[in-house]
């Protein structure tokens, strides 16, 4: 009987072998759910909630978030892999698979009497060796469009259909290259705006070299399309309301009140007038036009005055769009209209409005040298858009990782096969039972190429034998060609993974697996139950 049950008869507990069995079965269960997702040939899952919400996904991270996991061990693994996603944006499914497989392999030796502590020590050694291999096989790359395309494509193909993946790859790489500059690294991905439009089909998703905003003009007379536009970005209230709240009026007669109101109104009118003056100064007599984008509100009277001048005015812009606008069009975001100059203005070739049901979109395009861009996601329905959005996020992260690492690792299971072979040799240099653990670690790594093969409809053992043999003969890394099931060189086909992702996976998986192995007692007893 466990000591806890003396203190609390209600506590639930499981000891030693039983505790381990619980952990291992949880890890296996999670692995079973996720394994079909791995790789470009993995299946897509459609989740239908109890209330009829639809979600279609192949992304391990999304799946883990949506499955409400109750089992404590499973949720611990799930948390490790979502942490993986948070830090690198990829490798969620791999993490789950690898943890599950490590435990499964360990179980074989443990059931024969190996102590978990020796197992974990062996895992540690094996992990260090694997990291060494990773260091050796990573390929330093130049940051150019071709390399980035390859890495983004590998990542995106595991999330969406190849045809769509190819399109998104182009979009993502162009977006990052647009905003990247030498000085600032890594690239600030916030400067890529993701805007969704439920419209047309998913293959209409495109890159807009400028900004798309999710609101439009609120005055019927404002122009719907402007060319050669000056852009004034501002954070200045053009609403009369504001004064009413901050200070009460104290007045004796109705006329006095009127006077107060007029004075307050006048204050706002002055601001509007300043904008109009500037517009007249820079636009009159030329073919230029004028757009005002304001973070604060603009009331109908001010809108009316602006509309009369042919100015397109947008109110309540996103806070982050202020920064983006300055980068996309040039100019500065103004906090007051006191000293308004032409140099504060940005420029855009075209500004136009697009109305879709109750939503309006304003496109600011043809900017001179945009350092901020928008990816416009289109799809016929909400779940398609969500799926594309998740994929794009991961694609952008993969590109950004590459820029930060300046290195890539050949994909398609190539690294795992090489690490397996190296570990098999390394095993012989280890004394004692720990070498069994190294063997277990090596075997576990093979789950990745195995699953890739199975998901594409090939025989797992066949593939593994072919790959390991080929790998020993070749100095270059060998991965599996999912189209034929034969060994190939990933570098030839342009299949790459992020270095940081692989590194993170090796680290976190071995730690989580070790922790789970060392658990020899599981108990559940809350404060409330202690009170009995």
């Amino acid at each position: 009987m466990a000591s806890i049950s003396l203190l609390n008869p209600k506590a639930e507990f499981a000891r030693a072998a039983q505790a381990l069995a619980i952990n291992i079965s949880a890890a296996k269960g999670l692995q079973d759910v996720m394994r079909t997702n791995l790789g470009p040939k993995g299946t897509v899952k459609m989740l239908v909630s109890g209330a009829g919400d639809i979600k279609i996904t192949k992304d391990g991270n999304v799946l883990l978030h949506d499955m409400q996991i109750q089992h404590p061990t499973a949720s611990m693994i799930a948390r490790a892999s979502t942490a993986q996603d948070d830090s690198t944006g990829d490798g969620t499914t791999t993490t789950v698979l690898l943890i599950g497989e490590l435990l499964k392999q360990a179980d074989i030796y443990l059931s024969e009497g190996l102590h978990p502590r020796i197992m974990t020590e062996g895992f540690e050694k094996a992990r260090d060796k694997a990291l060494e291999v990773l260091e050796k096989v990573k390929l330093p790359v130049e940051i150019n469009k071709k390399n980035l395309m390859e890495i983004a494509n590998t990542s995106l193909r595991t999330k969406v259909h190849p045809q769509l993946a190819d399109l998104l790859t182009e979009v993502c790489v162009d977006a990052v290259l647009c905003i990247a500059n030498e000085k600032q690294q890594p690239v600030d991905l916030h400067m890529v705006e993701l805007m969704e439009m439920q419209h047309k089909t998913d293959t209409d998703t495109q890159l807009v070299r400028g900004l798309v905003m999710d609101h439009g003009a609120r005055h019927p007379d404002m122009p719907k399309r402007l060319e050669n536009a000056y852009i004034l970005t501002a954070n200045v209230s053009l609403e009369y309301e504001k004064a009413e709240v901050n200070s009460g009026f104290f007045y004796k007669t109705a006329t006095e009140r009127e006077a107060f109101v007029r004075a307050e109104r006048d204050f706002i009118d002055q601001r509007v007038k300043k904008v109009i003056e500037l517009k007249r100064a820079v636009c009159d007599g030329t073919d230029k036009s004028f757009v005002l984008i304001n973070q604060k509100g603009i009331d109908p009277i001010s809108l009316d005055a602006l509309a009369k001048e042919g100015i397109l005015a947008l109110r309540r812009a996103k806070r982050r769009n202020m920064e983006r606008l300055a980068l996309a069009c040039g100019g500065t975001a103004m906090n007051s209209f006191d000293d308004l100059q032409e140099e504060h203005l940005g420029y855009a070739g075209t500004v136009y409005e697009h109305v879709l049901g109750e939503n309006k979109f304003t496109f600011v395009e043809d900017c001179k040298n945009p350092l901020s861009v928008t990816i416009l996601i289109k799809g016929p329905n909400k779940h398609t858009i969500t799926q594309i959005k998740d994929a794009i996020r991961d694609g952008l992260r993969a590109i950004n990782n590459t820029i930060a690492d300046k290195a890539l690792v050949p994909g398609a299971g190539a690294f795992e096969v090489r690490a397996y072979n190296e570990l098999a040799q390394f095993k012989d240099t280890i004394k004692g039972k720990a070498r069994l653990a190294v063997q277990a670690f090596a075997d576990a790594l093979l789950i990745i190429p195995k699953t890739l093969a199975i998901n594409s409809g090939y025989d797992a053992q066949d593939t593994i034998v072919k790959l390991t043999v080929e790998d020993r003969l070749s100095p270059e890394l060998i991965g599996i060609d999912l189209a034929t099931g034969e060994p190939m060189k990933p570098t030839d086909l342009g299949v790459y993974d992020n270095y940081i992702v692989k590194k993170q996976i090796l680290n976190s998986c071995s730690i989580i697996a070790s922790n789970l192995l060392l658990v020899d007692e599981v108990m559940r007893a809350g404060m409330t139950s202690l009170k009995g």
Binding site: T43, V44, M46, D202, K382
Partner: protein, 574 residues
């Protein structure tokens, strides 16, 4: 100004959504679709609420016009029940009503997804969670067969969540479900103020939520301000406090906050009743610290008579009503009736009142906390009594019952905003020929309900100031309002009968009186809260030390509470 003066409503927390659901049901019950219709014709145009203040017009994907509340709700997972996250008006989900069609639609959606370029090899794994239970009322509502007259849906017993009795339909933007938090039967999933603050600050939630507020605000030509309903007993209080801060930073408009207390003692993870009590006190202290700074006015609401140290769960009692004390569905209806009636003060058509003036009038000198009081149903007798007689019979001024826990504003030196509804002009007084006794009363010169109430309170309350508003629009108490809470001696139009109403009939509407009151006596409510803080040992509250609440922050909040209490110190203001 001619343009609409919009208000955005925010609801944080499960109980807030219960109250909110009743509130929006009430709004829709008051829509008049056809002026020639008997029902709508009775109430004059200017006495109806101005719906555009709270509602927005939209257009869905099928090009149908929608009219939905300008509303944002936040709740934990599992409370939406059968409601899809994307709302029911804008498509993008599988309708659940008929078994076969669901499968059909599922099949079709699956096929279309397979045909589109998204999928790899034409194969799609479908993982379907068990269909959510859908209440009988909602089923009938979807089939358009709701039986208002004699079917008993037993909502009080069967209702699991506010979604079960929601008649109103929300915009997809309105739904926000907290990621990873599931509703639990006995403990609050989001327990502490600090946890709520943390969630508000998390990047994903914050960005998405603030953006949704912005999208509503962008549509408004003359945004007046915000109404916030939130649960003060759990972590949603922290979220609401932070949200208030954001609203003030970004929009600087009027904020009317309504903190709601659960009608029962809520539990928290890893807490015995004593710790739970302390957590509740800390949550309140921290919220009051924020509210006194940020809100233009706040009114704590609960059907319980006191909140802190209410071990017996002593409930408030409204004459003529009887509800199960800890029933969320019924108690929230009472609170919603108050919210609806009191806020009519600034929502009627052609009213010159704005939210900001409304708040300023009853919150002098920084006394931003006010107390709620209501009379539902108004105790007037069915045929025999007119308003003038009724007021005469209750000359001591005890018409209203308090709905703010631990607040007794007293009957002298108080400021109040009172709204009367559902008293037809014909029931004000009798014509001169039949007046008899009534002629002797001073109030006989009054020609309107509001005038008479004003006079009444001038006499009844010493040294007080009353703003009275009246509308003939009664409170609609048909389903999904819990009509069963009315006593048997209330007639179907809500007046008191000498006998009992005909069995089998239900109360369909009721007159009501609601007031927001402010007096120096409300300081006692703050004293009571401050007294509770002596018992709290912050270090022992595990859930707070986990959420990394700084000791300083708590102490500042306690100081702020005392400072705020000073505003209620003496009554020289009146």
């Amino acid at each position: 100004m001619e343009h609409t003066r919009e208000i955005i409503t925010l609801q944080f927390g499960t109980y807030a959504n219960y109250v909110g659901a009743h509130f929006w049901n009430q709004q829709e019950a008051n829509f008049v679709y056809d002026r020639d219709d008997n029902d709508g014709g009775q109430v004059a145009e200017e006495e109806l609420p101005h719906n555009d203040v709270l509602y927005r017009e939209g257009r869905n994907e099928y090009n149908q016009t929608t009219y939905t509340p300008r509303l944002l709700t936040v709740d934990v997972g599992g409370t939406l029940g059968h409601l899809p996250m994307v709302g029911e008006l804008y498509g993008n989900y599988l309708p659940l009503l008929h078994e076969q069609t669901t499968d059909d639609v599922l099949q079709r959606t699956k096929e279309s997804a397979e045909q589109s370029k998204l999928n790899t090899d034409g194969e799609l794994d479908v993982l379907q969670q068990p269909t959510a239970a859908i209440s009988e009322y909602q089923q009938d509502l979807l089939k358009n067969q709701v039986n208002l007259v004699d079917k008993d849906y037993k909502l009080a017993e069967s209702c699991n969540s506010w979604a079960d009795y929601l008649y109103a339909r929300y915009h997809p933007r309105s739904f926000n479900v907290l990621p990873g938090l599931m509703r639990q039967a006995d403990v609050q999933a989001l327990g502490t103020h600090a946890a709520g603050v943390e969630l508000w600050q998390s990047v994903d939630f914050n960005e998405e939520f603030c953006d949704r507020i912005r999208l509503y605000a962008e549509e408004c030509d003359g945004l007046q301000g915000f109404q916030l309903l939130f649960d003060i007993d759990d972590g949603f209080s922290g979220m609401a406090s932070k949200c208030l801060e954001h609203l003030n930073d970004e929009y600087s408009r009027t904020n009317l906050a309504l903190p709601l207390h659960y009608p029962r003692n809520v539990g928290y993870a890893q807490a015995d009743p004593r710790t739970a009590h302390n957590i509740r006190v800390v949550n309140s202290v921290l919220s009051y610290g924020h509210l006194s700074d940020q809100a233009s006015m706040f009114t704590p609401l609960s059907t319980l008579s006191t909140i802190w140290r209410n071990t017996t769960l002593q409930s408030r009692h409204l004459p003529g009503l009887k509800w199960q004390v800890d029933n969320l569905y019924q108690s929230s209806a009472v609170l919603a009736a108050f919210v609806d009636t009191a806020t009519l003060g600034y929502r009627l058509r052609q009213t010159p009142e704005t939210l900001s003036r409304f708040c300023q009038r009853i919150c002098p000198a920084g006394r931003t906390m006010t107390a709620a009081a209501m009379s539902l149903p108004l105790g007037m007798q069915h045929e025999q009594q007119d308003l003038i007689d009724y007021l005469d019979a209750n000359a001591n001024g005890e018409l209203l019952s308090q709905l703010s826990p631990g607040c007794e504003p007293g009957s002298s030196h108080l400021l109040q905003m009172i709204v009367a509804r559902g008293i037809p002009l014909t029931r004000l007084k009798r014509p001169v020929a039949e007046a008899g006794e009534q002629l002797r009363m001073a109030a006989y010169r009054c020609d309107s309900v509001s005038q008479m109430l004003q006079l009444y309170y001038q006499c009844a309350y010493h040294g007080s100031l009353t703003h009275a508003t009246a509308t003939t629009l009664p409170l609609k108490t048909q389903l999904p309002f819990p009509y069963e809470i009315f006593d048997a001696n209330i007639s179907s139009n809500g007046f008191r009968l000498l006998g009992e109403r005909e069995s089998g009939t239900r109360v369909t509407s009721a007159p009501a009186l609601a007031a927001l009151q402010n007096s120096s006596k409300l300081g006692e409510h703050l004293d009571a809260l401050h007294a509770q803080t002596h018992r709290v040992q912050l270090a022992k509250l595990q859930s707070y030390s986990q959420a990394a609440l700084e000791r300083d922050e708590y102490e500042t909040a306690v100081d702020k509470l005392l400072e705020f209490r000073d505003n209620y110190e003496d009554s020289h203001y009146l």
